[in-house]
């Protein structure tokens, strides 16, 4: 079974803190994605990566950056967390040319 794991299920941070959200997949997938999910807005793509050290902006990249130093790991970084970044963050992966995205369980981030 494909497994996508995320470092934390719940996280509480203070405004201005630097926040790291980590995602690891065990299926040797080339593609990895970060989404945020907010009530009434669905899933919105923040950043994605098609290969190691490669990254592409999604629909809402402002306030975020990413890092992909290894194929299996994709990190989402909030340089200076703000209250409007309180959300559920979902990581996903898929194979190159693959059609199915496999999602992790999500990290619910609260920024106070």
């Amino acid at each position: 079974d494909v497994k996508v794991t995320q470092s934390s299920r719940y996280l509480v941070k203070r405004t201005g803190e630097k926040v790291f959200l980590e995602c690891v997949q065990d299926m040797d997938h080339e593609n990895m994605f970060w989404y945020r999910q907010d009530p009434g807005l669905g899933l919105r793509l923040i950043y994605f990566s098609y290969d190691v050290k490669m990254k592409e902006k999604g629909d809402i990249p402002e306030g975020y950056s990413v890092s992909r130093e290894k194929k299996e790991r994709f990190s989402l970084i909030l340089e200076s967390a703000s209250t409007n970044q309180t959300s559920m963050y979902l990581c996903a992966s898929s194979s190159q040319g693959g059609e199915t995205q496999y999602f992790g369980p999500g990290t619910r981030l609260l920024v106070l």
């Binding site: 994605f33 989404y35 807005l41 669905g42 899933l43 199915t100 995205q101 999602f103 992790g104």
Partner: protein
């Protein structure tokens, strides 16, 4: 631009049928359907590629009308396990990213 899903919410009794729609303003290459149960990760249901094909998985099937740039998900003889939020994701090319709709909450009651 996000695809538009309709209706906004669906409440059914066990055994009833439902249709969920997904429409885009862009020409589509594929439509993907996912279901997310409360507190869980979204799970892939099926993908439809342009060509107007229809696919099925048990009692859940879907169609894709590329001319109308819309897809419909059909749930037949609904079961309690069908409850959840259904998302469609659309892609404009073979290797392009998915853009998801806002989701539709479907509740199946005994």
């Amino acid at each position: 631009q996000q695809p538009v899903q309709s209706p906004q919410a669906v409440i059914l009794r066990e055994g009833e049928d439902a249709v969920i729609n997904c429409s885009s303003s862009k020409a589509l290459y594929s439509v993907h359907w996912y279901r997310q149960k409360h507190g869980e990760a979204p799970v892939f249901l099926m993908i439809l590629l342009k060509g107007g094909e229809q696919k099925g998985h048990e009692k859940i099937s879907a169609s894709f009308n590329e001319k109308k740039q819309q897809s419909s998900l059909y749930l037949t003889a609904s079961q309690l396990s069908y409850s959840g939020t259904y998302f469609c994701g659309t892609a404009t090319g073979a290797n392009s990213k998915l853009t998801f709709g806002k989701g539709i909450t479907l509740s199946v009651r005994p």
